[in-house]
Symmetry: C2
Subunit: 216 residues, 2 copies
DNA sequence: CAGCATCCGCTTTGATACTG
DNA sequence: CAGTATCAAAGCGGATGCTG
């Protein structure tokens, strides 16, 4: 990308991560940790493969990403954020927060990936009864289950959980609305959400009040 | 800009503010408040005028910017951030922080504007002796003076201050280094910084420790 | 298959000139 | 002052092909 040529910290940042796709690549690496090229393509539907390769090279040059040539047993290249790259987390969090109001029900042509939602969920939810016994909630909303582990704080992992205490199934918006306490259980049910297990756990979690679209 | 088509808050944000120049336009309006078209052009050296016009229209459509047709006595259009636009501040702050390490001495082809630096300064500095009498420091580093008003907190304004207690002149990097406490007064002097007035005020201000380039 | 590189048509950007 | 209009250059998207 052509530099803005401004002696300004914001412009300098955008000189590095302001290109199309670049911050989304950082998002992938931030949410998923080390990724293979193929994992990245999967998490960035629609990116042209040459662009992905080029962006990765640029990010490597600029010290945001490292390329790890894994030894024989794995035999694949792993891309990873450098510490400097990890420092972009506050920027990603800021964009996540700001973008939440746009998260109305996904249209049919929109890609949905569980790990994209996992980041937002982890940022937004808290364990309101941190002294109670650990418990887990499994969400069925994307391409794979999302597991919320409650144990003083809310820890989010992907993939099927071992015997969750509560399972929630439905489309993204009302499920998120239910989790955030913006939608009552009855209203969520009307919008196709299924709750099975220890529903009391819903009162245990919650987020700061915010006017997100998921409530609408 | 073509939408990323992802059901992800970050991608949704970038669908709105991810275009080239867009966040810098938001920066201008955030730092300067209401701006005329010409003010924006001035704060965005290098932008093509058709692009500025197009971006402003898009931002207006998306509810980030409003256009105020001022009445006759002023007879000019004022662009302003909406409340939703103001909510981008955390994103701008995140980018400011992340970009600071890139702020080595500006090259000759880089534009320098005082108000770009003012935002970073206000974010980084604090009044460490909030109970002392109010005082002011004037910096001569950009296209216009920057005044730091110390009164429990550090308030930054542009334009010449009325009889500042301390005046600092020099090139941006060492002046910022001096302010942040990363550079001792002697070292700053060696790098061309002039300090005149109540130099004790330098101990009154300071920022959180951070490895910024201005120290180098 | 993973990790690219190349080619080509389309869109976006940049530079400049011009206008109410 | 606040924009349009125009056009060349750069960037992007999509398809395809190559290499270990």
């Amino acid at each position: 990308m052509r530099s803005y040529g401004e002696y300004c910290a914001i412009a300098k940042s955008l000189d590095v991560v302001g290109d199309r796709w670049t911050l989304l690549i950082v998002r992938e690496l931030s949410l998923q940790g080390g990724c293979r090229y193929t994992d990245l393509r999967n998490g960035l539907p629609g990116i042209a493969t040459n662009l992905l390769a080029e962006r990765l090279r640029e990010l490597e040059d600029k010290g945001v990403v490292t390329r790890e040539e894994a030894p024989p047993p794995i035999a694949t290249t792993l891309f990873r954020l450098t510490p400097r790259g990890e420092e972009l987390k506050p920027v990603l969090d800021g964009l996540t927060r700001w973008g939440l109001p746009f998260m109305t029900e996904p249209t049919t042509d929109e890609a949905v990936r569980s790990h994209w939602l996992a980041g937002a969920i982890e940022m937004l939810l808290e364990d309101r009864k941190p002294k109670e016994a650990p418990a887990s909630i499994e969400l069925q909303i994307g391409d794979q289950p999302i597991v919320l582990n409650l144990a003083g704080r809310v820890d989010v992992t992907l993939g099927p959980g071992a015997d969750p205490d509560l399972t929630i199934t439905g489309s993204p918006t009302p499920v998120l609305g239910l989790l955030l306490g913006l939608l009552r259980r009855g209203d969520a049910k009307k919008r196709g959400v299924t709750v099975s297990g220890d529903a009391a756990l819903l009162d245990r979690i919650g987020g700061e009040p915010m006017p997100v679209a998921v409530s609408g």
